[in-house]
């Protein structure tokens, strides 16, 4: 029976831990592309300049054929419009006078370096002006030509824009793109698995087909190459399909800096150091407050308190407190520590630690009480018999003997303090912030692993992009708590061995 239950527990543990470990490790160990290395170098200064330059040159060389094809295609589109523009030029020259001047003015923007969009705008403008003419019947040919060309090119341009959009998602900014502020648009995909995802979105167009009114829409997948049959862009798709590795240069990387670097652009890039440090501060802070108060309270309850009704009431209050939901502690912390006595001007690690300390206090008290009560009475007797006062006995004999049990209580509470979200939502946690120095913990809030896991999984604007960060955080939190527990258990084992001789 015992063996069976162990088996069941082990199976449950593996079921829970396996995805955490496997997907969490993928935040640390994954196939990273050249974009990742570029981010690391530009944002965090990791890597050598020559390496990055060399790689960028290689990658650009691999991508250049696609860019060239795009440029060629755009030229073709412009050439189509150019015909219409030339016609307008000819018309203007033929008409002369006021109309010529007004048309020439408008056509000025359609110069050789202008983009397809600008050409289109110019032609729309021209057409409007021609249609507004009093004797527009004379220009019907030109107007028709403009309309026809515009329509065709607009359709082509729309397809091209979609394709460029998909390519940008994959490779990063295309040559000639204006660089915008948000970091995420400066780089392509940093992870190979995301590359494959976006490669698929580049090669295929997904649409919803609502043709059947009885059923819900169906997701249709058409190869994007169909949109560009017969154009210069047609070979681009096969090229991207076959040469993605050369364009991205994926390499298996151990990204241990995930643990030690800040995050950039709402966790799109970078690591989780502020969160890890925040969790660390909160846990240690909670311990600093809870352990002395808890142990001293336990000593009082065991050694000094006389069995009156008040003390029984106190004991039952402590037991009840152990069962209060953590959100209540969070709200209490907000109301008391922040709004009433204002331990800090804003949310802070201090307020969060105090709230967490309150939450774990009952556990610490209970475990310490049990440990102290378990100390054999003979030790106390012997100490008192040698002339030790009550407090000296507690300090020099009982506490050291009770230390393993007290440490057990501390271990349990530490795991809880590190992983609880509700107490820190209102008192300490923010979504984004810098890693704090120890002095700043007194008055600054901090990101923390439990809260940020929730935040990244639900409230983030691009949840699917940062799945690896979410799992990485979960894995790190589990590993952190496990490590803390192992240290404390090892410590306890050492002390136990010493006590037992």
């Amino acid at each position: 029976m015992g063996f069976f239950s162990i088996l069941v527990m082990a199976a449950a543990l593996i079921l829970i831990l396996y995805p955490i470990i496997s997907r969490g490790l993928s935040a640390y160990i994954f196939r990273a592309t050249s974009e990742h290395r570029r981010v690391q170098f530009t944002e965090f200064g990791i890597g050598s300049a020559q390496e990055i330059e060399r790689e960028t040159a290689e990658v650009t060389a691999a991508r250049q054929p696609v860019f060239d094809m795009i440029v060629a295609h755009e030229k073709d589109l412009k050439a189509e419009l150019q015909e219409a523009v030339d016609q307008v030029h000819a018309l203007a020259a033929a008409e002369g006078g006021f109309l010529q001047r007004s048309l020439e003015r408008r056509l000025k923007r359609a110069h050789a370096d202008a983009s397809v969009e600008e050409y289109l705008t110019v032609l729309t403008d021209v057409r409007k002006s021609l249609e507004g003419q009093f004797d527009r019947e004379r220009f019907t040919d030109v107007i028709t030509l403009i309309t026809e060309r515009k329509q065709r090119v607009e359709v082509e341009t729309k397809k091209l824009t979609e394709m460029k959009h998909a390519l940008r998602d994959l490779l990063g900014p295309l040559p000639g793109d204006r660089i915008t502020e948000l970091l995420r648009s400066h780089y392509g995909q940093t992870r190979w698995d995301r590359c494959l995802h976006y490669q698929d979105k580049f090669l295929y167009r997904y649409e919803w087909d609502y043709s059947n009114p009885e059923l819900s829409g169906l997701k249709m997948r058409t190869p994007r190459v169909e949109d560009f049959r017969g154009t210069d862009l047609e070979p681009a798709f096969a090229y991207v399909r076959d040469n993605l590795e050369a364009m991205m240069q994926p390499r298996l990387t151990l990204y241990w800096q995930f643990l030690t670097t800040d995050s950039r652009d709402a966790h799109f890039f970078g690591g989780i150091w502020p969160e890890v440090l925040g969790t660390f501060y909160l846990t240690i802070g909670a311990m600093l407050f809870a352990i002395p108060i808890g142990v001293i309270a336990a000593i009082y309850l065991c050694e000094y308190a006389r069995p009156t009704k008040t003390v029984s009431l106190l004991r039952s209050c402590i037991s009840t407190l152990a069962g209060v939901p953590s959100i209540v502690f969070g709200l209490f912390g907000l109301a008391f520590f922040l709004n009433t006595i204002s331990v800090s001007e804003s949310k802070s690690v201090l307020a969060g630690s105090l709230t967490l300390a309150l939450m774990i206090l009952p556990t610490v008290i209970r475990a310490s009480e049990e440990a102290i009560l378990a100390v054999p009475f003979t030790y106390k007797e012997a100490a008192l018999g040698l002339g030790a006062g009550r407090w000296r006995t507690v300090l020099t004999v009982i506490l050291p003997a009770a230390l393993p049990g007290i440490l057990t209580g501390i271990v349990i509470s530490m795991g809880r303090a590190a992983g609880e979200t509700a107490p820190i939502i209102f008192t300490a946690a923010v979504s984004v912030g810098l890693a704090l120095s120890p002095l700043q913990t007194l008055n600054s809030p901090t990101p923390a692993l439990p809260w940020n896991i929730y935040n990244l999984c639900t409230e983030h604007e691009a949840v699917d992009e940062i799945r690896h960060v979410q799992f990485g955080m979960v894995f790190t939190l589990v590993a952190l708590v496990l490590m803390l527990n192992i240290i404390a258990i090892a410590l306890r084992a050492r002390i136990s061995r010493k006590l037992r001789g």
């Binding site: 915008t180 502020e181 948000l182 970091l183 648009s185 997904y206 919803w208 609502y210 009114p213 009885e214 059923l215 819900s216 829409g217 169906l218 997701k219 030690t260 950039r264 652009d265 709402a266 150091w273 440090l277 660390f280 922040l338 709004n339 001007e345 804003s346 949310k347 050291p400 939502i425 209102f426 946690a429 923010v430 979504s431 984004v432 912030g433 810098l434 890693a435 704090l436 120095s437 120890p438 700043q440 008055n443 600054s444 809030p445 901090t446 990101p447 935040n455 639900t458 409230e459 983030h460 604007e461 691009a462 949840v463 699917d464 410590l491 050492r494 002390i495 010493k498």
Partner: protein
């Protein structure tokens, strides 16, 4: 025993030293922003941009909801309250009582999109239809030209500024039906809608991606033009509230007026919202 304590003390000192050296020793200012999850992406982008330009400043961004943002501002626990709705008069009164004078800065515009699952054939609804769906009067998609599925309406929680705006602009005072689900953030709305073919919800513009479909309302879809000139019926401004107008030239002032700069403009556009000005 003594040796062990010494070891522990050494480890703790080493860890503390590493932390001190690893974290930036900012002697500078801290600005705390708190509030709406809708304004969140903008606030986070602004914060990072500003911190990069001014390394001595630590800006933290919390996302606990517009209502909580207002409360924090009143309790003076934050300097900037991001809110996706204007402050209610009860909040103004409470603020005045505690000596806080909230000043609104419009940071961006949002055309509140009504989201459905991409497989839903419905492309357009009127405001009245949306209202009746959320009231519970219209219960099946086929009543509005969609598939034969029972409608699952998802709303934000009452603490949310997005909810308040929706309530004001769409519901117009009518009560939301009992069968509506409530979720806590824009991201949660999107997740609910993208996983449920019969769902309908609303979020901020930044949260629209290709896993959900935004409907046009009264025939008008949300775009820069339609939101700016008010033709899109469910358009709203996004605010950052401060306590009084910040001192000119201070970090706080530059942060809340970032939306008026070219870089701020481009960041707002990139997140998906609509900038108040047009460069």
């Amino acid at each position: 025993m003594k040796k062990m304590f010494k070891k522990i003390a050494n480890c703790a000192a080493a860890a503390a030293l590493t932390a001190v050296m690893a974290g930036p020793v900012c002697a500078g200012e801290t600005i705390v922003m708190d509030g709406s999850t809708t304004v969140g992406p903008i606030a986070k982008a602004f914060a990072e941009f500003y911190m990069r330009q001014n390394p001595g400043v630590n800006i933290t961004v919390g996302e606990s909801g517009s209502g909580n943002g207002a409360k924090s501002l009143m309790n003076k626990t934050c300097q900037v309250a991001n809110m996706s709705r204007f402050m209610k008069d009860t909040e103004f009164k409470a603020a005045a009582d505690t000596g806080v004078m909230p000043v609104a800065h419009v940071v961006a515009l949002d055309g509140l999109p009504i989201l459905v699952h991409p497989s839903n054939a419905v492309k357009n609804l009127t405001v009245a239809q949306v209202r009746e769906i959320f009231m519970g009067k219209i219960t099946n998609w086929k009543q509005v030209g969609g598939p034969d599925l029972a409608i699952v309406s998802v709303s934000r929680d009452t603490n949310s500024g997005t909810y308040e705006c929706f309530n004001e602009l769409v519901m117009g005072g009518e009560k939301i039906g009992e069968r509506t689900e409530y979720v806590g953030s824009n991201g949660a709305i999107r997740q609910r809608v993208q996983s449920t073919p019969a769902a309908i919800g609303y979020a901020g513009l930044a949260f629209v991606d290709d896993t959900v479909k935004a409907l046009s309302i009264n025939g008008i879809s949300a775009s820069e033009a339609t939101v700016r000139n008010g033709t899109y019926p469910i358009a709203r401004p996004l605010f950052m509230f401060t306590d009084g107008y910040p001192k000119l030239g201070s970090h706080l002032h530059r942060l809340v007026t970032l939306c008026l700069t070219e870089e701020g403009n481009s960041m707002i556009k990139e997140t998906g919202f609509i900038a108040t000005t047009d460069y």
